[in-house]
Symmetry: D2
């Protein structure tokens, strides 16, 4: 019986060619799997048909937008996940979802391997394969571009020679990955980190320098999860879509950075992530109001570790999962509202309130009626300073 392989299929040139290419090179029957994680673009049914037309023995499609929002974006938001304090892990979040479904489809349809369209230079190959290893260790992973010499030139030639039904897109100079949490763009001239990005790169955001009236919104959270905008309850997916629209119009969430890839090199990346950036800012500010100081300080460290792990493809790894337990515990009180102004590239919080607030007006006010015991401060300072003071007696610093 012929071996079967499940290919993560996008409908584009590379993975379309990969279908017959894998068959030719490995003899395996290819099952195409396409998933909607909010990347917009083509209809899933069209994609499914193209996979079959390219020679897939089966083609499975899935609208995973709600699953992606609920099971991947919500944990990322709870973790205020920003790699290198900037990048909201756009591609790093979609890969484990896709990998998990690849593995599920493989098991259901009797395949013993999976394939994906990544190169051998980037992070996404690691994320696909590490995720598969962590959920279905029996499956082999193959990357036709990396392992079967399927370069872009080869793919174009093959598609033409074999008259594959690839949609004729205008040849774009940009290499793009996108889903509802954001969009990543790479292109030749950006490979010099001194070159500035140009307006043409962006699709999720409009030029922030264009004059517009500001948009003010209020986002409500319950236990760390955004549940409403301006009083209207929505699902996470709806909130992300709505904020991509609202914040995108104001040019919020453009990022330009040099990033340390897991594979050991630095790369220059342009991202746009309007909803992600606005939500993380709002969520963080609400946490500032309701988390105890030491929880706050420690969680910010955990967030860095969480982000590094997910960036590094370890979504299903034991540590990331254990950190989720910690994070979930901290989110129990993260309930309240944040008012935010979207304008000219910025998402600025202008107010936050919560029944769970730890801000105590009577302790903080400079007005009469303050209940803070100023007498306590002397004793506090004395013991807080005591280690330094004892050291100073020893070290006799010069002034």
């Amino acid at each position: 019986m012929t071996e079967r392989i499940v290919l993560a299929y996008s409908g584009g040139l590379d993975t379309s060619v990969a279908i017959p290419w894998i068959k030719e090179r490995t003899g395996r029957d290819v099952i195409a799997f396409a998933v909607d994680v909010g990347q917009a673009g083509e209809d899933l049914e069209q994609i499914r048909q193209r996979a079959l037309d390219c020679g897939a023995v089966e083609a499975v499609v899935l609208d995973a937008r709600d699953e992606y929002a609920d099971d991947y974006l919500i944990p990322a938001l709870k973790a205020n996940a920003l790699y290198q304090r900037r990048y909201p892990l756009v591609s790093a979040l979609s890969r484990p979802l896709i990998a998990r479904h690849l593995a599920r489809v493989a098991r259901e349809l009797g395949a013993n391997s999976i394939a994906h369209g990544c190169t051998g230079m980037g992070n996404d190959q690691v994320r696909f394969e590490a995720a598969v290893a962590a959920v279905a260790p029996e499956l082999e992973s193959i990357a036709p571009i990396r392992d079967l010499s399927l370069t872009r030139d080869v793919a174009i030639e093959y598609a033409e020679a074999n008259k594959l039904p690839i949609r004729q897109s205008k040849s774009s100079p940009y290499s793009v990955d996108q889903n509802m949490w954001g969009r990543a763009v790479e292109t030749g001239f950006l490979e010099d980190p001194w070159n500035a990005p140009i307006e043409d790169l962006y699709e999720y955001t409009q030029d922030p320098t264009i004059q517009r009236d500001p948009t003010e919104i209020t986002i409500a959270f319950e236990a760390g999860v955004p549940v409403a905008i301006d009083g209207e309850r929505m699902s996470m997916r709806q909130i992300v879509e709505k904020l991509n629209d609202l914040a995108g119009k104001h040019g919020v969430g453009r990022l330009d950075m040099v990033e340390d890839r897991l594979v050991g090199i630095k790369s220059r990346e342009i991202y746009e992530a309007p909803a992600a950036i606005a939500l993380i800012e709002a969520h963080t500010q609400l946490e500032d109001l309701v988390l105890e100081r030491d929880v706050h300080r420690y969680k910010r460290e955990v967030e860095v570790e969480w982000s590094n792990l997910v960036y590094d493809g370890l979504w299903f790894g034991g540590l990331k999962v254990a950190l989720d337990s910690f994070i979930d515990h901290t989110q129990e009180k993260v309930t309240g509202e944040v008012r935010m102004t979207l304008h000219q590239g910025r998402a600025v919080v202008t107010g936050r309130r919560s029944d769970q607030s730890l801000y105590d007006y009577s302790l903080a006010t400079y007005d009469t009626g303050n209940t803070f015991n100023q007498d306590a401060a002397r004793g506090f300072i004395e013991l807080h300073s005591l280690p330094s003071k004892i050291a100073a007696r020893r070290d006799k610093p010069q002034l």
Copy 2:
């Protein structure tokens, strides 16, 4: 012989009244010490004269702007110091400088104690007294407002009754601390964290929504220290002053946050710090280009610790000083240029370059000629994933 005390003197109402008040309550002769850390405002000589007029037995003034920039702001910039990822430690940086000079003056002029004008509710009392304990453990610290019942109402009444030569300022509704690194504002209506800040609060920054042409600048760094703007070499003080001007015009560096004070309460704070925010962004982006990945990841953690320590008043503590050794080592290669656009409240880096860059075009490019060994990726992924894979064999996760 009469005991002597050195008072950190601002020239304002509270510390002016404190001069005779301390004398009355403690019997000590008061030496006034005033320092310029770039807070603008009155001439030091005027301040000196007022101290004497209020009854100080001696009055010492010091222009410490360059010392502040070189010895306090440069280390803070190297540490990208942002408390709670936002606040660039404006007041927390000036306190240790002032405390050290208070201690120096005390030793030189034979005083056995120091005094400052802080209340018993805030961080600055801790910073003053912890710093003094760490450099001159023999000195006592007194806070007249906290320890000698010198409330504001008492001070106003006393000043009038005794015809103290206080400059009659319009009664400001704002409580402000400022120096060249930024400005902090507190006021009654902001004590509700739901209330939005108003334009009237700001002095260092102009309204970011006003239409202006963007300003593009290039900042040069050497070993982590900014040394030139647009090719013109300047001292740290000059660079900070210049950027306060340039970035302030574009409304860069406004911050609105709920903050965890060291004394255990949350407070709502408004800051504006145009130069600080612009410089930290530029410095961070240059580091992204020149630091090794693991140095980068670890330094970001050290920065948090450093910021917490300085926020907590432990500038002269052993740990902060030891962390400086680590940070200084990481800065040796942080040499290069960053191009930045200042516009509408944002300081956006659009390019960075360095002879010390670790960005390797030949490894990163997607063009032909790439030298990255894609074959290595398979082996890397296999071992990177191995712990998860072994765990998966044990745990048999469901899909």
Copy 3:
């Protein structure tokens, strides 16, 4: 109506005198509360009667040994809690239990404050009062020794003058705190950290240099909790008691250290904790076998934070509780057996096994049949080394 206060009562001189002393000084009626956390010593009923004889308006006693073992020692063992890598938090663990019951009794019997017998120099005052603040913020805390001038000399004199029914103990030169997790001893000559401890200090452990035959035991764990010794199922309390006996005979668990107290000073401490040290060693070794590498590395950091928090009296604080969520998650697989030899002061693990083991013989063996893919190593090393390699090309290190 007379105010009431609940006193943590030990039955000893200080707290016995404190009963009438608090009444005299504050006018409050004293409710005595005594608890058994495995400290051995007197019968609770005797203690109860003495409290009443000393003037307590009520006296409540509680055998909390199982609660202490289950709710305090198990979490500490899961966290492998060792302050400064040595001290298993003996006193730090009993304080929150006692404080919580003090608060409970206060609420049940209508008291508005609690009292304890600690001095103003140590950690335990902080632990009592911080725990009370965290569970019953409305209660005031009083320490008669610190706050009401009840020095030891005063107490002795008062007891004699008032013929208080204090059990006449031989005047011990040692200051001791003990419970089932261990025993702390301080005494005059040990206040010089150069002086060696003497045999007379110890009660839980016998001299480890005495010749005895080794004892070999096997401890079984389920989800991080010890459940059996040598196949005999026991409660946590029974296991701790049994191991105090077995390991104590071999002199296991003696500790001699200079410790950083929360109040800012260093102190020299002698501890003995035979069961604690043996259990933590066994538990750690089992974790070595079943935890994924990155969970293992991170948990060891979390353990340090957890230990610091509990040492610092923050048992009920938000961060410690959130860390418990993380730790509990990691313990799910910590099931298996550890074989240990107790001998001459050492508890040495000689074997560990588990159905949840991540040790994979076929990957680790040097025998034929090894399934480790050595080819993967080259690629792994290449990318693992790549950041250093790129840096070396820049830095051209000299050899």
Copy 4:
């Protein structure tokens, strides 16, 4: 011209066969390099001659014992380096030294690659190759066992067939790596982590259960470096050798653990490291006396990172080097003496003293004359507890 390769040569079977094997398989001329890092065993000159007899075109030997002690063991001791809190990094410390010299010899003698005798399953291959990449990125690394199919069976057969002058050792069942910092042993029956080690495994330590009189020694440190034993000044190498002898006699430093290898698997390891374990214990206890509390707490975290990095082969990486700056700074005050008893498998510190001590008798004593300000404690506790108290007011915990 023929290419040249420098081989890390031990004189044993594998690397002796590797000389002609590499020549046959790659055509490269082999330069043998042997180094003494205190592993005892054969004379370097004998080893040098054997290399030539096996076909090396050149053979270089080096006595690096002092360099190893001074440049590798001292930093490890300053870092109290223990991987997984147990393993003092025996092999991990010698590899970077050897790799650096391999690279130096390669440059000096015109080779373009290096070779080592490690398998593809362990850590040491990574350490060799990562170190070479970090100091001489132009050099290629080859592992004949991993890359050229030089299995042990092949090696034995080849040696016999070619009459290589291998010293006929009794076939040992143990796989051993050793140097002056310790000794690692692996062998078949130990691959079951449930099996106990047997006495025959050990060479550096004698059976700790044998009755002997205890040995008491005093170790003096200056700036973190041990400089004398019992008043006799010695070099680091001499101190390590002396302590291996003294502590080894008492069976100090035996370790039995399951360890997480960098390559992703767990392995069971037996180590013996008498000097390392005794010195780290002594050094740590001296640090307890002289380091400020927050330096102490943070340094213990840095030590874990440092140990992980060195274990992972990143000795020359940027982060490890930067951490050394931090550690060196903390060591400035680590000067003083530690008294230690060696007996029955234990190295027990019984006293420590230092002119740099931060232990303050007058603050710590319970005797009269104590200068600790107990009044300060109330205020300290109030603010230390305030965040928990405010949270409790919100959360209303049940008792």
